[in-house]
Symmetry: D2
Subunit: 93 residues, 4 copies
Amino acid sequence: MTSYVSNKDDLMRRLRRIEGQVRGLQKMVDAETYCIDVLTQVSAATRALQAVALSLLEDHLAHCVVEAAREGGAESDTKVKEATDAVARLVRS
Amino acid sequence: MTSYVSNKDDLMRRLRRIEGQVRGLQKMVDAETYCIDVLTQVSAATRALQAVALSLLEDHLAHCVVEAAREGGAESDTKVKEATDAVARLVRS
Amino acid sequence: MTSYVSNKDDLMRRLRRIEGQVRGLQKMVDAETYCIDVLTQVSAATRALQAVALSLLEDHLAHCVVEAAREGGAESDTKVKEATDAVARLVRS
Amino acid sequence: MTSYVSNKDDLMRRLRRIEGQVRGLQKMVDAETYCIDVLTQVSAATRALQAVALSLLEDHLAHCVVEAAREGGAESDTKVKEATDAVARLVRS
């Protein structure tokens, strides 16, 4: 079972809203909106994607990492390493 | 005239690709894909949005700022301030 | 016990190197080095700080979160929330 | 002449403060302060460095780019490209 199942409806809603933001960006570019205004909306969409990432990360930690730790063994090390690598990609993106 | 007109087709293509990435994310969440794999794709979409932002910024500097500077007057200060504020929003997002 | 004790020498070495980078930046500004070259060094120091942050985060997850999970109870929820909030501050900084 | 000369005292003051923050981080790690509290201070130092970067960038745009544009010729293209590349490094760091 993936860790974000309880959260699925919320994640789907956010992603549909981000899809709408990206379609809005296409309309802005097509209408040749002033570039600084387009940039502001690109930043808003980026922030919304980062918020989705943080929500997925929290679920990963609260479920995958915590469950692996409770089962004992080395699996929790793998889950922690995966989480840290994912954060490194987020921070750099 | 907005500054990115020459670049419009390329920007539209990138934004349509990002829309596809965000729809792909919805499919991944709907199929309950492993959260770390979803996170990797969120980072890819975020990077693609940042690349659009950098392209818009380069156009703004190469056109709006440079043109305002050539015309003289205080307009170039406004354009520079707008650009720096846009970068601050990007760096923080 | 804090979680990064085993890692302390490495963290201290990195932080001393970053202190050196920041002093190098002062010399560059004092010598009126070309701004783009100063900016490149600011980015290098920022990346080095982010690497310290990722190392601290990995220790937090591998020790504080995993230990709290093994002890059971609600403490692991607190540790996960702290970690996610710390990542949110990192991503936004 | 570099572009941030008028701003030099302010930049030096900020960089000395950041040096102090990095030395404070060494003391925190040496005293084995709780990792989340260290992380909070790492984020603060990172934000302070990003603010220095934004100040340098604004000077670069307001002076180097605007001056090159006023002189005409292709030099302003080089300055704009340098600025955009510097922003790309900032956004990724």
